[in-house]
Amino acid sequence: MELEAMSGHTSPVNPAIFPHMTVVLLAVDMFFTSWFFVYKVTSTKYTWDIYKELLISLVASLFMGFGVLCLLLWVSIYVKKQNQNL
């Protein structure tokens, strides 16, 4: 494979926006997670709706997953072993 034909590989997500992405994703996710927990606490045996619960939990875990990944990348863990030192 010719090196000249290739371009430098950049990350699919611009590293400059890691902080903002992290905050936004985690904030949205906290909202969904807290909604889920409040629903769990206030509903009784006869008032629960499984679909609503599953939907909230899925959306919450989706945002939480991407948010935590963004957080790891922001903190320069780059999803690999890296011993940080200040």
Binding site: P12, S76, N85
Partner: protein, 608 residues
């Protein structure tokens, strides 16, 4: 007894090449002759750098073949310590090109030989000038081998007065560059000239091939004799835009061993104390290095200075203690690099182009190097292009954050490296971009499992006895909640109908009003019947709330009457049967009554 032998040696060698000539050069090889050789032996550091500027001539007749390559030989005593051999030729436009060098074997001769490919084949009678550079490590030995802190370091180098070559040499000179003007002794062949820290030997004429004459010089050398005994370099590649490099370095001072004790008072007080010891050294890192850390087993070492320049990052590192002869230390240095400078890709093909070994300190000597390149999970068809020979160990697997089946690791070893070995290695591999999603999806799956566990856990009824009162209360609460939703829906219907009425007033469309009325009726009937069902359920539960619900139902019928009345009045207004001001008055009355009733309903709902 050795003196006569030394004198005999050149005589013996004069005969030997003629006897061996048919065997040393193969039948097809054209006879080459070194016309003029200018050797420089640089002994100013702990490396012996022997540079020979050779004018190579084709001495054959016109019928002999062209010379496409020529041989370079090494002295048998020094050949084991060779770290680097490079040959360059000065082109037409003054640019130097490196020539290809390959190690070969010559029948009947022991020792190492190298074949160098000439850019243009040499015609009979033509000449070409090449520069042969050889770097030897650990050949400059300290003598005396042990010194005290206040003494200076003296070293001995043993080499060859002549240019060791498979071809005879017409004229040659040798210049030795020493570390200091303080020379204890040196061999005198042919009346050498000494000036400052330079020794000039020669010119020597008509020296046959493979000639050796023992050369020895004993001089002062306080330059840092620092050696990296072993080094592990780990390069981790991440497709999220970062390459992390970590080097684990073991250093040793390979000069004269310290005899006696180390006195810190003397060391700090006198400039000349411990003159050959190493206080600090400078490492040059790649220009885009970030987050540089320098630490060892104890923790971070803060005696370091980082200087960020345009084309490099220089780190001046001071180990925790100065290094005297025989002393060792160990440290770890690491930094991050952006991936776009070293990782190239086209579609699924990726190429990593990085230095196999990087600068540790000037005039570095690395005895043993291990390089580990960790590629992202899912990298396949890995091919390695190294600039020089390396020995590869089998690939390993490395597990770290968010890994399921491990990252492939390329392991390579090499011994005896110097600064000239700082060259790029290319690693080709394929990686499908979809695999990058595996990392966030793993996190998402982990969190969903957490949530599902919580859902299941709350569902589980682990109580031993049933509590009937609590159960009844829960059921009632459930029903009232449903009632609330239904009633609010009903009230919403009224609002919706109000809007239809006002629209009718503007558009005068009787049919829309009628359809609105009809839909109100049907929906209202449905909701009321539902509320009635719930009311009966409440009754079966034995709750007193059903009375409140029935009261609310009555109020609701009144509200509905009022709403319908307002619709009728609007119709009359449009038809002209009713005067406007009377209509407005009536409307006010109706809306007042409605508001009262609605507030009463809401009050009841709050108490439910």
């Amino acid at each position: 007894m050795e003196a006569p032998a030394v004198h005999l040696l050149p005589l013996l060698l004069l005969f030997v090449p003629w006897a061996l000539e048919p065997g040393s050069t193969s039948a097809e090889a054209p006879p080459l002759v070194n016309e003029e050789v200018r050797r420089t032996v640089d002994l100013s550091s702990h490396l012996a750098k022997v540079t020979a500027e050779v004018v190579l001539a084709h001495a054959g007749s016109d019928s002999s073949p062209h010379a496409a390559s020529f041989l370079v030989a090494l002295e048998p005593e020094l050949e084991a310590q060779l770290a680097h051999l490079g040959v360059q030729v000065t082109g037409v436009d003054e640019e130097t090109n490196s020539l290809e060098v390959q190690e070969t074997k010559i029948n009947g001769k022991s020792g190492r030989f190298f074949t160098v490919q000439l850019p243009v084949a040499l015609d009979p009678g033509a000449e070409v000038s090449v520069v042969v550079e050889a770097i030897y490590t650990h050949v400059i030995q300290p003598y005396p081998t042990q010194i005290t802190q206040s003494e200076k370091q003296f070293v001995v180098f043993e080499g060859n007065h002549y240019f060791y070559s498979p071809y005879p040499t017409k004229t040659q000179t040798m210049r030795v560059k020493l570390a200091s003007p303080n020379v204890e002794s040196y061999t005198k062949l042919g009346n050498p000239m000494r000036h400052n820290n330079l020794l000039d030997y020669g010119p020597f004429h008509d020296i046959p091939a493979y000639s050796q004459d023992s050369f020895k010089v004993h001089s002062e050398n306080n330059s840092p004799f620092l050696t990296v005994t072993s080094m592990t370099r780990v390069i981790e590649v991440s497709h999220w835009g970062n390459i992390a490099v970590e080097e684990n370095v073991n250093l040793k001072h390979t000069g004269a061993v310290l005899k006696g004790s180390f006195s810190r008072y003397d060391y700090d007080g006198w400039i000349d104390s411990g003159i050959s010891s190493i206080r600090s050294f400078k490492t040059i890192l790649p220009a885009s290095a970030q987050d540089v850390y320098y630490r060892d087993e104890i923790g971070t070492i803060y005696t370091r200075h980082l200087l960020i320049l345009d084309d490099s990052v220089e780190m001046e590192m001071k180990p925790r203690f100065p290094l005297f002869g025989g002393w060792k230390t160990h440290y770890i240095i690491g930094y991050n690099l952006p991936s776009y400078e070293y990782l190239y890709n086209l579609g699924d093909q990726y190429v990593l182009k990085m230095r196999l070994v990087d600068h540790v300190f000037d005039k570095q000597v690395i005895d043993s190097l291990t390089v580990k390149i960790i590629l992202p999970e899912g990298a396949r068809s890995i091919q390695v292009d190294s600039p020089y020979e390396i020995s590869r160990a089998p690939d390993e697997l490395h597990y770290t954050y968010l890994d399921t089946f491990g990252r492939p690791v390329i392991v390579a070893h090499k011994k005896n490296l110097v600064e000239e070995h700082i060259q790029d290695i290319m690693v080709h591999y394929t990686f499908s971009k979809v695999l990058m999603l595996q990392e966030p999806l793993l996190l998402v799956a982990a969190f969903s499992i957490l949530f599902f566990t919580i859902i299941i856990y709350v569902r589980l009824d682990l109580s031993i006895t049933k509590n009937p009162a609590a159960e009844a209360r829960m059921k009632v609460a459930c029903i009232t909640e449903q009632v609330l939703t239904l009633v609010s829906k009903r009230l919403g219907l009224y609002h919706h109908f109000d809007k239809t009425v006002s629209r009718y007033k503007q558009s005068r469309d009787v049919s829309s009003l009628n359809s609105g009325k009809k839909s109100l009726e049907t929906k209202h009937k449905a909701l009321t019947s539902e509320v009635a069902v719930l009311q009966s359920r409440l009754k079966t539960e034995g709750s007193n709330l059903c009375d409140k619900v029935s009261e609310m139902q009555k109020l609701d019928t009144q509200v509905k009457e009022l709403v319908l009345k307002s619709a009728v009045e609007a119709e009359w207004l449009v038809a002209g049967k009713l005067k406007k001001d009377i209509y407005i008055e009536n409307k006010k009355l109706i809306s007042g009554k409605r508001r009262e009733l609605v507030s009463k309903i809401e009050h009841i709902l709050d108490t439910l």
